[in-house]
Amino acid sequence: MNRVLSSWPYVLFVALCWLSWELIGVLEFPGMDSAQQKSLFLTISLFVYPVLLFLAGTALGYRRGYDWVTVLACLVVFIVCQVFSSAVKAYPLSIGDLATFSAYYLIPAHLGIAAGLGIRAVQRRNAQPKE
């Protein structure tokens, strides 16, 4: 339970990512036609959020090692947010959609965790006194 509670910064980050995505969906972008707006959404969803998830994963991997409790807590929050969004928009989510969302979250996050673990291992090896 303590480990779940100590995951709050990462859970908050996921919730803020979701909120910002919902905000972008309702914002007006003056001077942009629908094709440009579509490109912007594509860039944000395929590039910006994966990089943010990667960065969060790197910070997590570096600071705590492979903390599966936090990874799972964030995934649950991420899925709950998607289900909530779809319920509000009256757009039912299929199991396939949920699997896609999970992969969208898990792949960059795990690549980030791997990078964080690598940085942590290199730093610890360098910090050990040489014989």
């Binding site: 480990r3 590039f47 994966p50 790197t58 570096y62 600071r63 492979y66 964080g116 940085i119 730093q123």
Partner: protein, 109 residues
């Protein structure tokens, strides 16, 4: 080395805040050995098994007192150099992501 489940439970509870499994196992084993040596001292002074376990646990204190310190000690700090390394890793990831999409959309078009 005798196995004392109560001391093992104490060590497991005290190190529960460490997220990395390998580090948690190492810390648990180290703390267990520390608890065991306290237990053996009490046994050597003539206490029975149950009394020695109780005395060792009293001597060590509450597991919750250790938990926060252990979790903090095993959490790596973000230094400016580390932030730079993480930024570098993110740039590499962005390049790989760009190459991946260029490949996908390049092949598709």
């Amino acid at each position: 080395m005798p196995e004392v489940p109560e001391l093992h439970a104490f060590a497991s509870r005290a190190t529960a805040g460490i997220a990395a499994p390998a580090e948690r196992a190492g810390a648990t084993s180290e703390l267990y050995e520390h608890a065991l040596s306290a237990y053996e001292e009490h046994r050597a002074s003539g206490l029975a098994h149950d009394d020695a376990v109780q005395a060792a646990l009293t001597q060590l204190g509450e597991p919750s007192e250790y938990r926060k310190d252990f979790a903090r000690a095993h959490r790596a700090r973000l230094t400016p150099r580390t932030v730079l390394l993480i930024g570098g890793a993110a740039i590499v990831f962005m390049i790989l992501l760009w190459a991946f999409f260029a490949l996908i959309f390049g092949v598709a078009s």
